[in-house]
Symmetry: C2
Subunit: 181 residues, 2 copies
DNA sequence: AACAAATATGCAACCTTTTGCATAAAGGCG
DNA sequence: CGCCTTTATGCAAAAGGTTGCATATTTGTT
């Protein structure tokens, strides 16, 4: 039930609508726990039924009205209980690495292209990470406690991303050798 | 349909039974695409029905009989077609990082313990990776082409794993500071 | 008035994955 | 003989996730 808890995590400091949550996920929690808007809306209703979230409709001018959700006390308790529970390691599933097991003379250039594409995607993501870090997490030592946790998650993303780039370079070099052989 | 293709990938060089595949996944392809035996057996039957695998029963003495699967020509073609298709990036889903967004004075020592546990797990995995690398991929330059691809996947696992350890150390240091504050 | 874009929420079908259970053959041990 | 372990295969229910579609409001543009 990690999606439920990811959503509640996003609501710790602010009450948000499904649309806003969906947006926020793209530039924060979604780095570490992805969710489509369909999933989010459905889960929000379930959590409200369970009593872990409260909902209220907010009338807006200039935009359609929205339904804003906030954590209840029961929700906060459930969230803390989850933090203290056992954490499961999600095994990485990466098609690209499985495809590399299929490397041969016919597909080497295609796989090199795919790695280049992934390298570019990661560059963009790293740029986003770095922007966020500079804007919100520059003064690491003086961050409030919870934000230090968020900072660590971001640091994880940056570290893994940077070394992914290095691996891409190594892989592309090796594949170039195979191609020209 | 990546599981289907991961299974076919595991059958490129050898015909294997579901049990053997399940075993092999734990020390090779499973690093990058996990699968339970329930999933594997079911998928094997589907692939055989589709004509991508052939099956034959093998009588064994000293053990129960087994059903061995091998790639058909159609299966090899489908596998190559998949390699050339678009590759999707599987977003990382990691509960531990979501939990870090919940960092506060009450859970900081628990989260530090969780990170330590993950660090130990990664140490064990890295030891396994390194053993495999030394045993089978030491002479990188002279590997056959396909094995160079497998080597790159392994190198990916080792690189990401090593830097995960470094991140754990950084995180534990920061959390120790929070705890004593 | 027609149309596009952003905001906002949702249904339903399908596919994938997890979980728990079930079965059976063969060998080793007490 | 009874029991445990390894080898070997499978069913079925539930949970989780993806894909495609559907709808409505409001503002801004042509």
């Amino acid at each position: 039930m990690a999606l439920a808890h990811a959503i509640m995590t996003a609501l710790i400091e602010d009450d948000l609508s499904g649309y806003e949550l969906s947006r926020d996920f793209e530039t924060s929690l979604g780095f570490f726990w992805n969710a489509s808007h369909q999933q989010i809306y459905q889960e929000l209703r379930k959590l409200a039924e369970k009593g872990w979230l409260n909902k209220r409709e907010v009338n807006q001018s200039g935009k359609p009205n929205k339904i804003v959700y906030g954590l209840t006390m029961a929700g906060r308790d459930a969230l803390q209980a989850w933090v203290f529970g056992t954490t499961r390691t999600q095994a990485a599933k990466d098609e690209l690495l499985v495809k590399l097991y299929n490397l041969d003379a016919t597909n080497v250039s295609h796989l090199a292209t795919e790695i280049s594409r992934r390298r570019e995607d990661m560059m963009k993501l790293l740029y986003l990470y770095e922007t966020i870090r500079r804007r919100h997490y520059a003064d690491t030592a003086n961050l409030p406690v919870r934000r230090k946790g968020v900072y660590l998650a971001l640091a994880y993303g940056i570290s893994q991303g940077e070394h992914f780039l290095a691996w891409c370079d190594q892989a592309l070099e090796l594949l170039a050798g195979v191609e020209s052989a």
